[in-house]
């Protein structure tokens, strides 16, 4: 076969294969459709040569070679189908089973165990091992991770995923020979990010999960691929459910933006869904206390009270606060409800990143295609991270950055006021600045000039950073809430002057923070970042909705709160948000309202003050779409039911109907079709979403400038917190690491 410069050709079991130079034999075989069994080999992790399952015969080599460590060469003649190879596989399995307990009937992994599968396919029917097996008691490494030494086959995947994947390095090996075992980093216990990647990657039942162990057989579960509801990164996850109970989350097919990655929140922090304190029935305030009511009573009461206030005081006395976690469809409907049914633009949400300013700046620069996706971060050759601590706040972004650095030597530059882990471990250059001065550094980077007090190392350090970045191309710039308003505009202007296709990511806190902005949960911005002030944009939505939209911009969230305090705003609807806590409000403010409705999962501080509390469905109990911080839309799929609850979609539709609107949505999908048809930038292919893909969006629009920089602030959640919701997660509170201060480096 002809060989081109960029390919090597070899034959495996008589089949000719062409692969790029440097390919490992085991991968070349895979391409030829030939399976070479392996335990220790794991794509993306370092090579071990430890399990010896992958031995194959190579012509002209005196003994068999491990396919996982052999780099292909031209003309190589390989056999994987000889008796010698088959016997070797059988032999390795016989060896590894000698001290294996074979407690498959009670092992969590039974039914999805690589060792079982391997023995089934390549093993011998019986063993010749007659000696007593070694035994060790099972050990608890943490509340979430347990280790069973007898089941461990010492493939070292756990060690490598923790070291090379997570950069946490919590595992090592103790003792020697047949007594070797995996040991955690702190006196028999783990002190780590508790991401559980080690459990997921373990081919056998040696590492088991504190939430899943001894609960079920895998074939009794139903599996639903959905999206994690915690941070803004949008990890795909498969929820394993039995009897309406989630038992496990892992990204089973390794698809989506995160591959097999999940952080502790994604892998374990879904358990809030089952918390005892989940609201199970609507509540109505009578006299001083809240009492259970039927859905009809609660909804009717809400509609009546709203109607009364509207009649008495007009739409300016009513405001709506939306959520960072509800679906795009719900956020879209909520602002439609506010604008077209209630007739008010007083709608906002807790903004955790200034997405609007990014869209505006890129649109103004004619560069609305310069949004970076999660994949782009991984592929980047150069990354500039300004503010934020992704290791805590955006675990997937941090993972993508680490892998970019580890797997293709990307250069990372960090500007931060704290010595965050990425700055210490991965950065080529770290510019430490005083708190809240990141934006000033951008000004100096962009405009030159001196600012000796701005960075450790003075102006020289800033100049050095500028020079380095000018030598890079295609830099991905990732920024946190430290950069907002005019700062974003400056960053974009300067960033676009760097060589190549600079792309941007704004980091927002929660699962649909991005979607909330995209869908127009904003007082002066319609869905798709269309300015409310733009009469043409307004009329497009008016004709789509068959209703008029008030032209006057609404109040932003802080103005809403002060209007309540001042007594001019009388009714407030809150969906999936806890402003009392987030905005550190005094209770007396909200008590000035004539009517407060809260749709919530839990009896939060804000819900406790409400006249009507509606128990909402969680992310696991509804379908729809969410948009991650990079602007990638993904489908949320209903996994289970929760008695007594309704989704925000159902709640908004019911209220709209009761308030006289003539909406005809049968499902969230109908809303999505409307979004696709009418929201600029959201013409996403529905089939792609339905098969679980992440679809990138590139919004274009000229939303108004940021009214007040205090509107944009991150909650600075740690690895183990997720706003109010994480209070209700046993798993997230059970680990000792959660007690560490914010920013702790594991």
């Amino acid at each position: 076969m002809a060989e081109t410069r960029s390919s090597v050709s070899l034959t495996i079991d008589g089949k000719t294969v062409h692969v790029p130079p440097g390919t490992l034999l085991i991968e070349a075989a895979k391409q030829a459709g030939i399976e070479v069994p392996s335990f220790c080999y794991y794509p993306g992790l370092s090579l071990q040569g430890a399990c010896r399952m992958c031995l194959v015969s190579i012509e002209k080599m005196p003994k068999m070679q491990t396919a996982c460590t052999t780099v292909v060469t031209n003309g190589m003649v390989v056999r994987t189908d000889t008796d010698e190879v088959k016997n070797a596989r059988k032999a390795m399995l016989e060896f590894v089973l000698t001290n294996h307990p074979l407690d498959c009937p009670v092992c969590d992994k039974g039914g999805e165990c690589e060792l079982q599968d391997m023995v089934f396919r390549y093993g011998a029917a019986e063993t010749r091992f007659l000696e007593p097996k070694l035994h060790e008691e099972e050990r608890k490494f943490s509340s979430l991770v347990y280790y069973d030494r007898p089941r461990c086959i010492l493939c070292y995947r756990c060690i490598r995923v923790c070291d090379e994947g997570m950069d946490v390095n919590a595992y090592g090996i103790g003792f020697r020979g047949v007594h070797s075992e995996i040991i955690p980093n702190r006196d028999g216990r783990l002190e780590c990010e508790e991401c559980g990647a080690c459990i997921d990657i373990c081919p056998v039942g040696a590492l088991t999960s504190g939430t899943y162990r001894y609960k079920t057989r895998p074939w009794e579960l139903t599996y639903t691929g959905t999206i994690c509801n915690h941070c803004g990164d949008g990890c795909k996850t498969t929820l394993s459910v039995r009897n309406n109970q989630i038992i496990r989350a892992n990204n089973r097919d390794h698809s989506g933006v995160n591959g097999e990655f999940l952080c502790v929140k994604g892998r374990f922090g879904w358990d809030f869904v089952h918390h005892d304190q989940r609201l199970a029935s609507p509540l109505i305030r009578q006299n001083a206390s809240q009492h259970p009511a039927t859905w009809e009573q609660a909804l009717e009461m809400t509609a009546e009270r709203l109607q009364a206030i509207l009649t008495e005081r007009g739409p300016n006395a009513v405001a709506v606060i939306g959520s960072n976690r509800t679906t795009n469809e719900e956020s879209y409907l909520l602002q439609r409800f506010a604008r077209a049914v209630l007739g008010t633009n007083h709608i906002d949400h807790h903004r955790t990143a200034d997405f609007s300013s990014l869209v505006r700046a890129l649109t103004e620069a004619g560069a609305a295609d310069r949004y970076a996706t999660m994949e782009d971060i991984f592929r980047a050759s150069s990354i500039l991270l300004i503010g934020n601590d992704p290791t805590h706040q955006h675990p997937l972004v941090a993972y993508q950055i680490r892998q970019a650095v580890r797997q293709h030597s990307a250069s990372l530059y960090v500007i931060n006021s704290a010595a965050i882990k990425l700055a210490l471990r991965q950065a080529k250059l770290f510019l430490k600045v005083p708190p809240r001065r990141e934006v000033d550094v951008i000004r100096v980077l962009a405009g030159g000039g001196e600012a000796p007090d701005l960075a450790e190392g003075g102006s020289q350090a800033i100049t050095a950073l500028r020079d380095r970045l000018r030598q890079e191309t295609d830099t991905v710039i990732i920024f946190g809430d430290e950069i907002r308003g005019g700062g974003v505009a400056e960053l974009v202007r300067w960033g676009l002057s760097l060589p190549g296709r600079t792309r941007f990511v704004a980091l927002g806190d929660y699962a649909n923070s991005r979607g909330a902005a995209d869908m127009g949960l904003l007082p002066a911005t319609l869905p798709g970042y269309q300015p409310l002030a733009d009469a043409a944009a307004r009329s497009r939505y008016e004709s789509a909705w068959g209703a008029s939209i008030p032209a006057e911009p609404g109040k932003d969230l802080r103005s809403i709160l002060s209007a309540i305090d001042a007594g001019s705003l009388k009714a407030l609807l809150v969906f999936g948000s806890n402003p009392l806590k987030t905005f550190r409000l005094d209770q007396s403010v909200l008590s000035k309202l004539s009517f407060l409705m809260v749709a919530e999962l839990f009896p939060t501080e804000t819900a406790a003050m409400a006249d009507v509390v509606l128990p909402a469905a969680s992310f696991a109990e509804k379908s729809g779409t969410v948009t991650n911080t990079c602007g990638q839309v993904q489908a949320l799929k209903k996994t289970m039911r929760r008695a007594g609850t309704r989704s925000d979609f159902e709640i908004i539709c019911a209220l709209a109907r009761l308030m006289g609107a003539n909406w005809r949505y049968r499902s969230a999908e109908d809303v999505l079709r409307e979004i696709i048809a009418h929201v600029p930038g959201y013409a996403v292919p529905l089939p792609s979403l339905l098969v679980g893909r992440a679809v990138a969006t590139q919004p274009r629009g000229l939303p108004p400038l940021l009214e007040d920089s205090n509107l944009v602030f991150s909650s600075r959640d740690s690895l183990f917190t997720s706003g109010t919701v994480s209070r209700y997660s046993w798993a997230l509170n059970s680990v000792d690491e959660a007690k560490r201060p914010y920013g702790h480096i594991f």
């Binding site: 430890a50 031995l55 460590t69 390795m92 010749r128 020697r176 020979g177 047949v178």
Partner: protein
């Protein structure tokens, strides 16, 4: 400190090339060394080009004394001299192969000879830093070496601009912590770097990617101790001491049921029969010979009828064994070969690093099987199972320790099969007078 006589009573048949200073009063001191040709080879080498030094060593037929017997000059020539990375010489002084005790007198009685060899190796491959990695149990030798290194620095044989040549070389010692596996060159490099002593995947070989990822030559103590003599006497004269392709002499460690055990320097290719009968003075108590381990516990055992063999790498390979590390163990007729196999396997099971499946599990399995078998619990299928399990390890492990465990086992199972049968028939060990004879 044990005196030289405890290693050997000496034999007139010895040809003393690298042990010629053993027994001199104060032989470890630099003054005694200098008075007996010390550092003359270095003076000579520094006047040659590095290529000339490598060729001289290549032509001498010097082969690695650590066990594998690879041509030393050839190994040095694999180092990419153009590489911008630093290069290292690492002396393997981990000497842990059972029945091997030859590096020890070389370091104890003539440390400067080794240091001189290391400096010459450094010059040849363009290295400026050497390390001597010494097994943890040899702590007292570390003191001797450290003293000798300090002397060499004082006299200008180590450090900057050695003997005005412009060549710089530094040397340091480092101690292991008691793992046989750390004698395997890549495990040694990991250990030297402060990592666990696990072997590395090869290729790449240390000559290209070694210590800290840099080109590195790893040589045994005895190998390096031969280098000064080669330069002084010339490659040809050195080669002629031995047999074709097996240049020079070798320190043989004679042990077991023999009248005069000890370390003897004999020419390569010296006949095994004469070594046992003339050098070692025959078997103790006039017993009959049953078997010989020719080169440390990792080698296939020879039966009594195989001892008419020249002791060099190629001749032993021809009869299916190995010269290995030069540890010759003489075994008499009263020895239980099943117990010998058990003892050897116990060693390997204890020393298996545990990294790869076949060696980790195979050695432990065989040890347990042999223990049971020897103490009377044997089953008819055991010998076949043991043979099969040994073959299942052979050639399939990451590092050669798995082979080292499998080879003696296979040879004993094949050559002394009848002893296994006797155990089965009697239901106990035919040799054991009292009890089961656990170790």
């Amino acid at each position: 400190m044990p005196d030289y006589q405890s290693y050997a009573q000496g034999s007139p048949l010895e040809v003393k090339v690298i042990s010629k200073r053993f027994g001199l009063p104060n032989s470890a001191s630099i003054d005694v060394f200098l008075a007996h040709e010390g550092y003359q080879a270095l003076v000579k080498a520094l006047k040659m080009t590095p290529e000339e030094v490598i060729n001289e060593v290549k032509n001498s037929g010097l082969r690695g004394r650590g066990g594998a017997g690879f041509n030393t000059g050839m190994k040095w020539s694999f180092v990419p001299r153009q590489s911008p990375k630093p290069k290292y010489v690492v002396c393997n002084a981990d000497e842990s192969e059972p029945a091997t005790c030859k590096d020890r007198p070389l370091m104890e009685y003539d440390p400067h000879q080794l240091i001189e060899g290391i400096i010459i190796a450094g010059y040849a491959i363009g290295s400026h830093q050497g390390y001597i990695y010494i097994r943890g149990e040899y702590r007292y030798l570390m003191e001797i070496l450290d003293r000798a290194i300090a002397e060499a620095y004082q006299r200008g044989y180590l450090g900057k601009n050695i003997l005005g040549s412009g060549f710089d070389f530094d040397l340091a010692t480092h101690t292991g912590a008691g793992a046989y596996e750390c004698g395997e060159e890549t495990a040694l490099l990991n250990s030297l770097e402060g990592l666990r002593g696990y072997p590395r995947v090869k290729p790449p070989f240390p000559a290209v990617v070694g210590l800290y990822g840099c080109p590195t030559v790893v040589n045994n103590v005895e190998t390096l101790s031969n280098v000064p003599a080669i330069l002084l006497m010339g490659a040809e004269a050195y080669a002629k001491l031995g047999t074709p392709k097996n240049g020079g002499t070798r320190l043989f460690c004679l042990s077991g049921h023999i009248n005069r055990p000890g370390v003897y320097e004999l020419p390569m290719g010296f006949p095994l029969r004469r070594m046992i009968e003339e050098v070692g003075g025959g078997l103790r108590g006039g017993k009959k010979l049953k078997a010989v381990i020719p080169g440390g516990s990792s080698c296939p055992v020879l039966s009594a009828d195989q001892i008419d063999v020249p002791m060099d790498f190629d001749s032993l390979a021809k009869i299916g064994s190995m010269l290995g590390s030069g540890g010759v163990v003489v075994i008499d007729e009263d020895t239980c070969m099943v117990k010998l196999a058990w003892r050897i396997m116990k060693f390997y099971a204890h020393e298996s690093c545990g990294w790869c499946i076949p060696c980790r599990e195979g050695t432990a399995w065989l040890q347990a099987l042999l223990a049971r078998f020897h103490s009377g619990g044997g089953l008819p299928q055991d010998p076949d199972t043991a043979l099969d399990a040994s073959y299942n390890m052979l050639g399939k492990t990451l590092c050669p320790l798995g082979d080292a465990a499998a080879l003696p086992m296979i040879s004993i199972l094949k050559k002394f099969h009848h002893e296994f049968e006797e155990h089965l028939k009697l239901g106990k060990c035919p040799f054991e007078k009292n009890g089961t004879g656990a170790f």
